[in-house]
C-alpha cells in the first residue's frame, strides 16, 4: 500500500543531549535530501548506501539551522519497514522544532500519536503477539493528545478559532444554499463582499500563526502540577512561586475547588504551573469535579510537586495521591517545618524511591531556594523534559492554522481568476475542517444545519 511520508521528533523534547527526528515513508529520503547539505556538494542522500551515517547541515532555504548526523535506512530493514531517515541534531527544543518545520514544509506530514509503531505493525515488522501492546500505545497516546489539545490552548485562543470557524461556515452555507436553491437565493455581487471577508480572516490567521511561532498561542514549558491532600500548602506554594496572591489561601481544607494555572520563568526554564484541588475522597459535587481534574492533570504532567503536610501523619488521602504519582518525576515538599514534624524523609523515600525531597515552610519562606535549584538541576541534567505528546499537539495546532491560511490563499486565487462560486466553498470547507482539528471537532452535519437555520429554502 502506498503511504504518505510522516515525520516527528523521536526523542523527548528537552534542552539536553541529542535530539532525533524520524522520517518514514516512500519519500523519506527525498524529503531529507531537500533540506540536507553535505560538506561535499556532490553528495546526494538519494544515492547513498542503506544504513549509513552522514555528517552535514540542515538548511531552511539558505538559512542554516543545525549541524547534524543523518542516518539513511532503506526499506525493508527499518523499524517501520519503510524508507526511514533519522536526523540527529543538537537537542534544543528550538532546533528540533525548526528542523521538523522544514521537513513539514517540504512535504512530510506530522505523524499521528503512535503512528510509527502502527506502521511498523501493519508492515509486519512487529510480531502479531504484540498487537495488544500496539493498540494500547495508540489508544493511550491518542487519549492523551485529545485531552492535552484543548487544555493547552491559551484562554481566548479557542474562542478566536471558534469564531473564525463560525464565520467561515456561514459563508459556505450562503454559497451552498444558493447552489441548492438558485431560484430563492442569489449570489449577485457576492464575490466582492467575500473577498473582503477572506482578506480579513486571512490576516487574523496570519497573526495567530505569528503568535504561534512566538509561543503565545500555547502554554509552553514544563507542565508542572501541584498535588497533595487538602490544606497541605499547595496554594501557598503557587503564591510563593508566582509572587502574588493568585490562589485563595485559607486554612479551611478544600478551598481550591477547581484548578489554577500560572506560567512563570524560573532560571530561564518555562514552567506552566497548575494548582489542583486537594485530592481526597469527597462527597461535595463541585469539589469532586476539581479532584477529577487534578487526577487528569497529574497524569499528563512533566513534573509533579507533591506538597505534604509534615505536621500530620500520612493518611488515606496521601495514599490516593501516591497512587497517582508513583510513575512520575516528583519533587516532594515536606511543608510546614514551622510546626512539629511527624513525617520523616525515609517514610516518603520508601514509597517514592526516585523522588527528590525538600523540607520547606511556605509560612517562613524557607527551603524555597533549594527547591528552585533542584528544578534547575533536574532540567539541565535532562532528568525532566517537556512531554513530547504535548509538544506534538503544539505542532499539530500550528500545522492546522497554516493549512487554514493556505486554503484562504486558494480562495483568493479562485476569486482573482473569477472562478465560479462553487469553487470557493471547496477551499473554505478545507479551512473549516483544518480549524476544527484544533478544537477536536468534526465537520459532520454542521453545514447542513447552518444552511437550514439561516436560509429559507424549498418547495
Amino acid at each position: 500500500m502506498k503511504t504518505d511520508t510522516i515525520a516527528a521528533i523521536a526523542t523527548a523534547v528537552s534542552t539536553s543531549g541529542i535530539g532525533i527526528i524520524r522520517i518514514s515513508g516512500e519519500d523519506a529520503i527525498r524529503t531529507a535530501s531537500r533540506v540536507y547539505r553535505a560538506k561535499n556538494p556532490q553528495k546526494n542522500l538519494m544515492a547513498v548506501k542503506s544504513h549509513t551515517l552522514h555528517y552535514g547541515f540542515i538548511y531552511d532555504g539558505d538559512e542554516l539551522i543545525d549541524e547534524v548526523m543523518v542516518a539513511v535506512m532503506r526499506s525493508p530493514n527499518t523499524y517501520t519497514k519503510e524508507d526511514t531517515v533519522e536526523i540527529d541534531c543538537h537537542g534544543g527544543i528550538l532546533v528540533m522544532n525548526q528542523i521538523l518545520n522544514v521537513l513539514l514544509k517540504n512535504g512530510c506530514r506530522l505523524a499521528e500519536p503512535g503512528e510509527f509503531t502502527k506502521r511498523a505493525f501493519l508492515n509486519g515488522r512487529i510480531d502479531l503477539s504484540k498487537a495488544e501492546a500496539v493498540m494500547d500505545i495508540i489508544h493511550s497516546k491518542n487519549e492523551f493528545a485529545l485531552k492535552a489539545s484543548m487544555k493547552q490552548l491559551r484562554g481566548g485562543v479557542s474562542d478566536k478559532v471558534r469564531s473564525l470557524r463560525d464565520r467561515i461556515l456561514s459563508e459556505i452555507a450562503y454559497i451552498e444554499a444558493a447552489l441548492d436553491d438558485p431560484e430563492h437565493i442569489s449570489l449577485e455581487d457576492y464575490p466582492a463582499s467575500l473577498e473582503e471577508k477572506i482578506f480579513q480572516m486571512k490576516n487574523e490567521l496570519k497573526q495567530m500563526l505569528d503568535n504561534a511561532d512566538q509561543g503565545k498561542l500555547l502554554k509552553e514549558g514544563l507542565q508542572t502540577v501541584i498535588v497533595g491532600k487538602p490544606n497541605a500548602g499547595k496554594s501557598s506554594l503557587l503564591n510563593v512561586l508566582v509572587g502574588e496572591d493568585r490562589a485563595i489561601v485559607t486554612s479551611v481544607a478544600g478551598t481550591t475547588r477547581d484548578v489554577l494555572e500560572e506560567s512563570i520563568k524560573l532560571h530561564g526554564i518555562g514552567l506552566n504551573i497548575i494548582d489542583t484541588a486537594g485530592i481526597r475522597e469527597t462527597e461535595d459535587e463541585v469539589e469532586k469535579i476539581g479532584v477529577d481534574k487534578a487526577r487528569s492533570y497529574a497524569e499528563m504532567a512533566d513534573l509533579i510537586l507533591y506538597v505534604v503536610d509534615s505536621s500530620r501523619p500520612l493518611d488515606e488521602d496521601d495514599a490516593s495521591v501516591l497512587e497517582i504519582i508513583t510513575d512520575k518525576k516528583v519533587i516532594v515538599l515536606l511543608n510546614k517545618t514551622d510546626l512539629a514534624q511527624v513525617v520523616s524523609e525515609e517514610e516518603i523515600q520508601q514509597r517514592l524511591p526516585a523522588a527528590s525531597i525538600i523540607r520547606t515552610s511556605m509560612k517562613d519562606n524557607t527551603g524555597i531556594d533549594l527547591f528552585e535549584d533542584t528544578i534547575k538541576t533536574m532540567f539541565f541534567g535532562g532528568e525532566i523534559a517537556i512531554n513530547d505528546e504535548l509538544y506534538i499537539t503544539n505542532q499539530r495546532h500550528k500545522e492546522a492554522l497554516a493549512e487554514a491560511y493556505e486554503s484562504m490563499e486558494m480562495v483568493l486565487q479562485s476569486l482573482a481568476q473569477k472562478l465560479p462560486e462553487d469553487f470557493y466553498s471547496i477551499d473554505l470547507m478545507s479551512a473549516y475542517a483544518s480549524l476544527g482539528r484544533i478544537l477536536g471537532e468534526e465537520v459532520g452535519e454542521a453545514l447542513v444545519n447552518e444552511i437550514f437555520s439561516k436560509f429559507c429554502m424549498g418547495k
Binding site: M1, K2, E112, P113, G114, E115, K118, F121, L122, L128, A131, E132, V134, M135, D136, I138, H139, N142, E143, L146, I172, E176, L179, D180, D181, P182, E183, H184, L187, Q417, K418, L419, P420, E421, D422, F423, S425, I426, E442, G444, E445, L447, V448, I451, F452, C456, M457, G458, K459
Partner: protein, 633 residues
C-alpha cells in the same frame, strides 16, 4: 384459508418511483418479478411537486440513467418545461430540472412496466412478510426472507423482497382539524405491514412531509405574476435520448410572492395548525418547510416566493410551490387569496401534511439489504429519504442487488467518490438521520468529479456489467473515453509559437499575448478561451462530437481542482477498500473506547472507510481497528 400460492423470484412492494426502478431492474436481469401496488392507477404517481431533477437531484437522475434506470427516459418523453440550473456557476453544480406532465409521466412509466418481460403487476396490499429463522442467539435473531402474503391471503413465495412502501405505511393526512387515515391523494393506506415488520425486529420511526394546494388555472390572474420560461435549447436527461426529440413547445411557470397580509393570517391561526398544536408526531424535513414554518422561523422576511406550476398539459390544476401547509381549509383559502394573482383562486385539492411509518436505515447494508434479514431489501421514502429522484436511485440499487443476491454474484456498492447515489446511500446507512433525507450538492465531498455531464463515463460500465446497459450503449461510452483521452493528449502536445499571427488572434479574443510558446491545452484553460474559440489557430483538429468537446473543456479548465480532488479520492479509497469481515465482534477489541465499540457493533460497517464516518468513532479508534484486523487475519 386456501388462497393462491405462486412462486416467483422477486416481490416488489409498492409501485412508486423506487418500486418501478427496482422491479424493472430485476425483470431486466431475467428474474420473475411481481410488483404490488394498492392501486394500479397510482403507479409512478407524483403526489407532490410536478418536477423531476433540480440541484443535485438532476445528478441522481443522470446517474440512474447511466446505470440503466428508467426515470430519465420517461421524463424526456413527458416533460413540459426544462431548465439547466446554475449555468452561471461551475460545471459541477449544473443541474437539470424538468416540469413533468404528471399524468403522462405515470402513464408512460406504467406502459414500460406493462411491456416488460418477466414483470407482473398485481393490485394487492401486502400485509405480511414470510421468513424462516437462520440463527437465533440471546442477542441476535437472523432471518431469511421467503415471500409475502397479501390482504386476500394469497402467498407469493420468492427469494427476495424489496420494500418500497413510500408514505403509505400507517399513513395519516392532516388538513387542520380534518384528519384522514389515507395515503397521498386520498389513496388507501397500508395499515398492516408495519406490525409484520416489527415482528421481524425491524425498528420503525415516523416521518412527516407536506404538499401545497392545487388550484384551478381559470381562477388565477397571471397578469400579476412574472412568467418563467424554460431553456431555449433543452438538454435531455437520458444519455440515450435523441437531443432533437426534446426540442418541444414548452409551458410556462409563474412567480409571485406572499406578503405581510398572508403572514398575519398564518400567525393568527397557528393554534389551528396540527404541527403547532402538537397533533403531528412525525419529524418533518427542514428543507421544505410549510409556509407556517417559514413565517415562524424566518419572521423578519417580508415575503416568500411562490411558484405557480402546471401539473400537466391536459389539466387545469396548478401547483402552488412554496406554500405547503397543514392549516385548515378555511385558513388556507384566506391565506392563498392574499397572494397577488390568487385573489379569486379556487382550490381543487387542499394542502395537507402526511405522516407515515419508515425505518431507521442504519439497519441496512450499503447494498440496501437488511443486515439481519437476508433477501430483504428496501428503498425510497421507506428508508427515510424524500424526493422522487432519491427514491428512484435507491430503487435501482436495491433491484440490482436483489438480482445479484439471487444470482449469487457480487452485489454493487457505489462509493462516495463514484456517484451521488453512493453519497446518498452511504449517508442513509451510516449517519444518524433525524428527518427525511434530501440530496444536496454540499453533501458530496468530491462533487467536482461527480458532475451530471460525466455520469455516463463514471457509471455506464457498472450498468453494463449487471446487464442493464446494452452493448451498443457501452461501446459508445468506451469510444467517447478514448476520443477524450486522445484529443487531450494532442492538445497538450501541440504548441503554438509566440508569432505575429497568434498574438493577433489572442488580441482579438481579449486574451493576453504569449511570451513563449504554449500548448493548445494551456490556451483552452484561459477563462476567455475554449476549445471552440481557438478553432481558428488549430486547423488540424479532428471532428469531434459535442459531448466529447464538453469534457475536454471542463477537464482542461478546472485541471488544478480536479487533480486535487483525485488526490483526495486516492486517500479516501485506501481505507474504503479495506473490507471488514461481517462477523467481527467489536466487544472483543478492548482498546476501542466504549462509545466506539458500541457504535461499531450497532452499525456493523462493511469497510474501514464506512467505520470512520460513523459519528463518535475517532481516527485513533480506526488505527486500533486496523491493528486488530491485521492481527486476526
Amino acid at each position: 384459508m386456501s388462497g393462491i400460492r405462486e412462486q416467483v423470484d422477486v416481490c416488489v412492494v409498492g409501485a412508486g418511483h423506487a418500486g418501478c426502478e427496482a422491479a424493472l431492474a430485476c425483470a431486466r436481469m431475467g428474474l420473475e418479478t411481481v410488483i404490488f401496488t394498492v392501486s394500479v392507477d397510482s403507479i409512478a404517481l407524483m403526489p407532490c411537486n410536478p418536477n423531476i431533477g433540480g440541484s443535485s437531484k438532476g445528478h441522481l437522475v443522470r446517474e440512474l440513467d447511466a446505470l440503466g434506470g428508467e426515470m430519465g427516459k420517461v421524463i424526456d418523453q413527458t416533460f413540459i418545461q426544462s431548465k439547466m440550473l446554475n449555468v452561471s456557476k461551475g460545471p459541477a453544480v449544473h443541474s437539470l430540472r424538468a416540469q413533468a406532465d404528471k399524468a403522462e409521466y405515470s402513464r408512460a412509466m406504467r406502459k414500460v412496466l406493462e411491456n416488460q418481460a418477466h414483470l407482473t403487476i398485481k393490485q394487492a396490499e401486502v400485509v405480511e412478510l414470510l421468513s424462516v429463522h437462520t440463527e437465533a442467539s440471546d442477542t441476535i435473531t437472523s432471518y431469511r426472507i421467503t415471500g409475502v402474503k397479501t390482504y386476500t391471503g394469497a402467498i407469493y413465495e420468492s427469494k427476495a423482497v424489496i420494500l418500497c412502501t413510500g408514505t403509505y405505511l400507517k399513513a395519516r393526512c392532516l388538513c387542520g382539524e380534518a384528519i384522514t387515515h389515507t395515503g397521498p391523494n386520498g389513496l388507501q393506506a397500508a395499515n398492516e405491514l408495519t406490525d409484520s415488520l416489527k415482528a421481524l425486529g425491524i425498528e420503525m420511526c415516523r416521518f412527516k412531509t407536506g404538499t401545497p394546494a392545487r388550484m384551478d388555472k381559470r381562477s388565477i390572474d397571471f397578469s400579476k405574476m412574472e412568467e418563467q420560461f424554460g431553456d431555449e435549447r433543452v438538454i435531455p436527461f437520458s444519455f440515450s435520448t435523441d437531443e432533437e426529440s426534446v426540442q418541444i413547445d414548452q409551458v410556462s411557470c409563474w412567480l409571485t410572492y406572499t406578503n405581510e397580509k398572508t403572514h398575519d393570517i398564518i400567525r393568527a391561526n397557528l393554534d389551528r395548525s396540527p404541527i403547532y398544536a402538537g397533533v403531528i408526531e412525525g419529524t418533518g424535513p427542514r428543507y421544505c418547510p410549510s409556509i407556517e414554518d417559514k413565517v415562524v422561523k424566518f419572521a423578519d422576511k417580508e415575503r416568500h416566493q411562490v411558484f405557480i406550476e402546471p401539473e400537466g398539459r391536459h389539466t387545469n390544476e396548478m401547483y402552488v410551490g412554496g406554500m405547503s401547509s397543514s392549516l385548515p381549509e378555511d385558513v388556507q383559502l384566506a391565506m392563498y387569496r392574499t397572494v397577488p394573482g390568487l385573489e379569486h383562486c379556487k382550490i381543487v385539492k387542499n394542502a395537507y401534511a402526511i405522516e407515515y411509518d419508515c425505518i431507521k436505515p442504519d439497519q441496512l447494508y450499503p447494498t440496501l439489504e437488511f443486515k439481519r434479514i437476508s433477501g430483504l431489501f428496501s428503498a425510497g421514502q421507506f428508508n427515510g429519504s424524500s424526493g422522487y429522484e432519491e427514491a428512484a436511485a435507491q430503487g435501482l440499487i436495491a433491484g440490482i442487488n436483489a438480482g445479484c443476491y439471487i444470482k449469487g454474484c457480487e452485489q454493487i456498492v457505489l462509493d462516495r467518490s463514484q456517484a451521488y447515489i453512493g453519497v446518498l446511500i452511504d449517508d442513509l446507512v451510516t449517519k444518524e438521520n433525524f428527518e427525511p433525507y434530501r440530496m444536496m450538492t454540499s453533501r458530496a465531498e468530491y462533487r467536482l468529479l461527480l458532475r451530471q455531464d460525466n455520469a455516463d463515463l463514471r457509471l455506464r460500465r457498472i450498468g453494463y456489467q449487471v446487464g442493464l446497459v446494452t452493448e451498443e450503449q457501452y461501446q459508445y461510452v468506451c469510444e467517447k473515453e478514448q476520443l477524450i483521452a486522445k484529443e487531450m493528449d494532442r492538445l497538450r502536445q501541440v504548441k503554438v509559437g509566440a508569432n505575429k499571427e497568434i498574438q493577433m488572434f489572442l488580441n482579438q479574443k481579449n486574451s493576453s499575448s504569449l511570451k513563449t510558446a504554449a500548448s493548445l491545452a494551456e490556451l483552452i484553460s484561459r477563462p476567455e478561451l475554449s476549445y471552440e474559440r481557438i478553432a481558428e489557430i488549430d486547423t488540424d483538429r479532428p471532428c469531434l462530437p459535442k459531448d466529447v468537446i464538453e469534457q475536454i473543456n471542463i477537464n482542461l479548465k478546472y485541471d488544478g481542482y480536479i487533480k486535487r480532488q483525485l488526490k483526495q479520492v486516492e486517500q479516501f479509497q485506501k481505507i474504503e477498500n479495506k473490507k471488514i469481515a461481517p462477523g467481527l465482534d467489536y466487544n472483543e477489541i478492548k482498546n476501542l473506547r466504549l462509545e466506539a465499540r458500541q457504535k461499531l457493533q450497532k452499525f456493523k460497517p462493511v469497510s474501514v472507510g464506512q467505520a470512520s464516518r460513523i459519528s463518535g468513532v475517532t481516527p485513533a479508534d480506526i488505527s486500533v481497528l486496523l491493528v486488530y484486523m491485521e492481527s486476526h487475519k
